[in-house]
């Protein structure tokens, strides 16, 4: 039976969610496998596991539960070892690295902040900032909306300014929030956002980051900010333990 791995914690982590429902349908049960002073949060790997909504949620919930009670290195969704013995072997092989990461990330959580432009809001901002766009729009309106070409010309000019505004606002968001975090990592590329940033913060001082987000909302009313956290530090675990252990 192959083994699904959720994350890695110190062996003395006392709040690991043993017995909790994990991935799979019907849900598998979360277990703990220990070795080299470390504990892996695992479960039996369901046959034919796919990134379905319920499984992604289960992965996230198990890690949230484990992370609430102590530091845990979250695995990327869908990591499957041959069996429990292979998990223990992996723990032993890179024990120093995992311990170093666990200690570096102690009491740290990740907050993911995504920024979107409110379309009407950004159009207003862009129009207010550019005399030439207002003139173009006024000319079109005077001509009863303008020809197809006129509309395209205006729309293209507006789109260009909107895109420029996207990068400017993305930078403002980053600059305002970064001072409240130990580390910043841009999220993986995905669409729909002008900025997608993950911040590593001390669990105890995360309120400062949230406060800065609130101030940004006042400062940039045409930017919609979505905050998710506290999360396990997905974006701050090193992903190449082999490289690191080779160096040590």
């Amino acid at each position: 039976m192959s083994t699904y791995v959720y994350g890695i914690a110190d062996a003395d982590h006392t709040g690991l969610p043993e017995g909790m429902e994990g991935v799979g349908s019907p849900a598998t049960t979360v277990r703990v496998v220990t070795g080299a002073g470390l504990a892996a949060v695992v479960g039996d790997a369901p046959e034919g596991l796919r990134p379905k909504r319920r499984d992604l949620l289960a992965h996230q919930n198990v890690l949230a539960e484990a992370g609430a009670a102590g530091t845990v290195l979250p695995m990327r969704f869908g990591s499957v070892a041959e069996d429990d013995a292979a998990v223990v072997a992996a723990l032993e092989e890179h024990a120093e690295h995992y311990k170093e990461r666990l200690s570096a990330l102690q009491d740290r959580v990740e907050y993911n902040v995504k920024a979107q432009h409110d379309e009407e809001g950004v159009l207003r901002t862009v129009m207010a900032d550019h005399d030439d766009l207002r003139e173009l729009a006024a000319r079109n309106r005077a001509a009863g909306g303008g020809s197809h070409e006129d509309k395209l010309r205006l729309g293209e000019a507006v789109a260009r300014c909107v895109q420029q505004r996207e990068s400017e606002d993305a930078e403002v968001v980053r600059a305002a929030l970064a001072p409240h975090a130990d580390a910043v990592n841009p999220g993986p590329e995905s669409s729909g956002w002008i900025a997608n940033l993950s911040f590593l913060v001390d669990r105890k001082t995360s309120e400062q980051l949230l406060q800065a987000v609130e101030e940004l909302r006042q400062q940039l009313p045409h930017v919609v900010l979505t905050v998710n956290g506290p999360l396990p530090p997905y974006s701050f675990v090193e992903q190449t333990p082999s490289a690191s252990s080779a160096a040590s």
Binding site: G155, S190, S191, T226
Partner: protein, 135 residues
């Protein structure tokens, strides 16, 4: 409102899942000795929003929208315009869809739906739950 979505499960976790999907799928520890389950169908996550913005449809929509904006604000001078911007954004920022952005967002939802192969929740419902979260 500063409502940080806590990922503790329940319905809050469900709507938050959409927003951290790419972290769960694309970040986190990888161990070479382990295999990963297939993520076929999820790659569509990487569409760039700019593809959506730079299209004739968008240009026309922006032109239309700007026309409407100017009608609302009348012949106000630029300085007056800024004041009005502040007022109307109160409601605007909490407005409905995100226009150009929503197109891509729905594409992701669709891809996600396909990947799930199970129709428990429609992409429409997921989109609306995100809206609620922001309000």
């Amino acid at each position: 409102m500063t409502v940080a979505t806590t990922q503790g499960g329940g319905s809050g976790g469900t709507s938050g899942l959409y927003d951290v999907l790419e972290l769960i799928l694309d970040r986190g520890l990888v161990i070479d000795a382990f295999v990963r389950v297939s993520l076929v169908g999820i790659e569509i996550l990487k569409i760039d929003i700019r593809v959506v913005v730079a299209s004739v449809d968008t240009y026309l929509r922006f032109a239309e929208a700007c026309n409407r904006l100017d009608l609302e604000t009348g012949n106000k001078k630029p300085s007056g315009l800024t004041d009005i911007v502040g007022d109307s954004l109160e409601s605007g920022a909490r407005g409905k869809t995100k226009g150009a952005l929503s197109g891509a967002a729905e594409t992701i939802s669709d891809a996600f739906k396909q990947a799930r192969q199970e129709g428990q929740t429609s992409s429409r419902r997921r989109t609306s739950s995100r809206k609620e979260e922001q309000e």
